[in-house]
Symmetry: C2
Subunit: 347 residues, 2 copies
């Protein structure tokens, strides 16, 4: 089969690789229908992290089950499934706590030894725990829903999780820092799922902030750094109690810590490769809480799936470019050059 393979910074190539195949009795093999490129895939593309050359790429995909192992009970060949970016058994303590990214049997698609989502097919470990079956199958969803279901595998869940971590609730106010696909998804999640009344998006790109407004942002702050902090405070009357850091770089973190009010909480879902530590004194002085975490997409999937099928959750709006899977290199190039917020791949 064909799959995206990492050759080094800037070099993602579609190559012939061994067919995805069952290895354990709890596995399924899923034929990919749609996949995409994650903002976190760009870390290796840009050489900031360096996976071994030859690694598979991609951890976001939806597809049709082709084959299941002898112990798989709840997933059948022909099922159309949404697969979160990390697999899980969904029965251990962390899974029962709704933190499937900390499952004792978890792993990430595209990591060493695993198939990647950017390929024609994927071996899915712990298929019963991992896969969420779409009622009615592939034929029951339209293109718009297909894009949204793909988004649920990571970016939509990650954005929502950022909002959850920030502690914002019904009627509340939250500031989202970052207008990438995760930030935009945080806006959608904060507003539609959590019921926040005021969602302030920090965004300096006109096209992205316009989309942010469509997804539920009530205000846009088109300034960064100290100026952005001042504008947010003016807008809200004081610093926000809930901030979502949806970038991961030091500028976004510094802005979050500078604006949050004493006793407030920063929820962060950005991957902090550039500065992997947090200064403690600003937290200490302001009694600021920090919650950072990989989103348990599997936990959010059932509810978000229902919303997508009901037509009330347009998570797929973050895709602004669609390419054939075979042109995965073009997808990385487009996202790296910021010509695309997020690129979908059609298998």
């Amino acid at each position: 089969m064909r799959a995206a393979v990492y050759q080094g910074p800037g070099a993602i190539e579609m190559q012939d690789v061994p067919d995805a195949a069952l290895r354990e009795a709890t596995d399924a093999v899923v034929r990919v229908v749609r996949a995409c490129v994650c903002g976190s895939d760009l870390w290796s593309y840009r050489g900031i992290v360096k996976p071994p050359p030859g690694s598979r790429r991609g951890h976001e995909f939806v597809g049709v089950v082709e084959e299941v192992g002898a112990e798989v009970a709840s997933v059948r060949p022909g099922d159309f499934v949404v697969v979160p970016f990390q697999w899980c058994d969904n029965v251990c303590d962390p899974c029962r706590d709704g933190l499937q990214t900390s499952c004792v049997n978890t792993g990430t698609f595209g990591a060493a030894g695993a198939d990647g989502g950017q390929g024609e097919a994927v071996r899915v470990p712990y298929a019963d725990g991992t896969c969420v079956v779409v009622p009615g199958g592939l034929s029951a969803v339209d293109e718009r829903q297909l894009a949204s279901l793909l988004a649920l595998t990571d970016v939509a869940a990650t954005g929502l999780h950022g909002a959850v971590l920030s502690g914002v609730g019904r009627g509340g106010e939250v500031v989202v820092i970052g207008d990438g696909a995760v930030g935009l998804s945080a806006v959608l999640g904060a507003r539609s799922v959590l019921g926040a009344e005021r969602v302030v998006l920090v965004s300096t790109h006109l096209d992205r902030s316009a989309l942010g407004r469509e997804l539920g942002a009530t205000d846009v702050v088109a300034a960064r750094g100290d100026e952005g902090v001042a504008v947010v405070r003016d807008l809200l009357g004081r610093g926000p109690a809930h901030v979502v850091e949806a970038v991961g770089n030091p500028d976004a973190w510094d802005m979050a810590l500078a604006m949050v009010r004493p006793g407030g909480t920063v929820g962060s879902v950005g991957v902090p490769h550039v500065r992997p530590e947090l200064p403690l004194f600003p937290l200490l002085r302001g009694n600021v809480g920090v919650r950072v975490g990989l989103a348990p997409a599997r936990h959010y999937l059932p509810e978000l799936l229902e919303r997508v099928l009901a037509g009330t959750y347009d998570a797929g709006r973050v895709f602004d470019l669609t390419l054939p899977l075979e042109d995965v290199a073009g997808a990385y190039q487009a996202m790296d050059a910021r010509r695309s917020v997020k690129t979908m791949l059609v298998a």
Copy 2:
């Protein structure tokens, strides 16, 4: 008057200084009855932080009001008052949120330009907001209560705050790392105020762990590092959801982050001078929340004062040595050499 003055690492001296006096109409002057030495005072004593030579020392004291400014309404000369380690106006937004350490008009006793608590008298800014009057006055409390009231100015509030930050509630389980005065106070607060059912104290000193048990610890883990983490996990069946970091040094933080369960929270009240940053990837992987903060002692004071006067809150048990104020140097020596958990000074 006489007051403790910092001359450099290892050198705290009682000296003649100008009498404490009113400066603003909102000030009071309080004659000190009891004061003490804080664990955080040892940072400068040990040369880890370096205040300017000549700085006053101490931020924990109780005393009798001697004089008040023209605008002070709720505190009268002769009142016996408990004074939190930071002053506050108690009317601004953060104060109303119960975060008086973030008051827009706050400052710390013993900091540049302020009187220190280790002296015969102290100018107390924003006396109406800062001072908590003890009903019945000094004559209504016994020696045991006096020690406990002194503890409320910082250490008892700081320990309780650590437990609050960890998120433990009624019937819950919490692990307290650190058997200094703050850790012991966290045990007391978690158990008596928050109603935790299981309080595990990590303590390798027999005398301190014995006191910890008297204050409410249900279990003691006499091991540190990986071994301590393993013992805690065995004891609780899995990692704890709530951990109090009551030391501030890297070993305590590492232990907290290693033991906390996915999705759990570390509440920290240790001052992180040795490693003032936190690694983000362990938080990200485990969805671990961190809340770090200076305790708003003023917020907790009314409730804790009631408990002390009712005889149900023995916060003063952390004092194991009493010296005359004039021997403040001996108090620092005793605590620095770990001959005393916490030393009280009689003015």
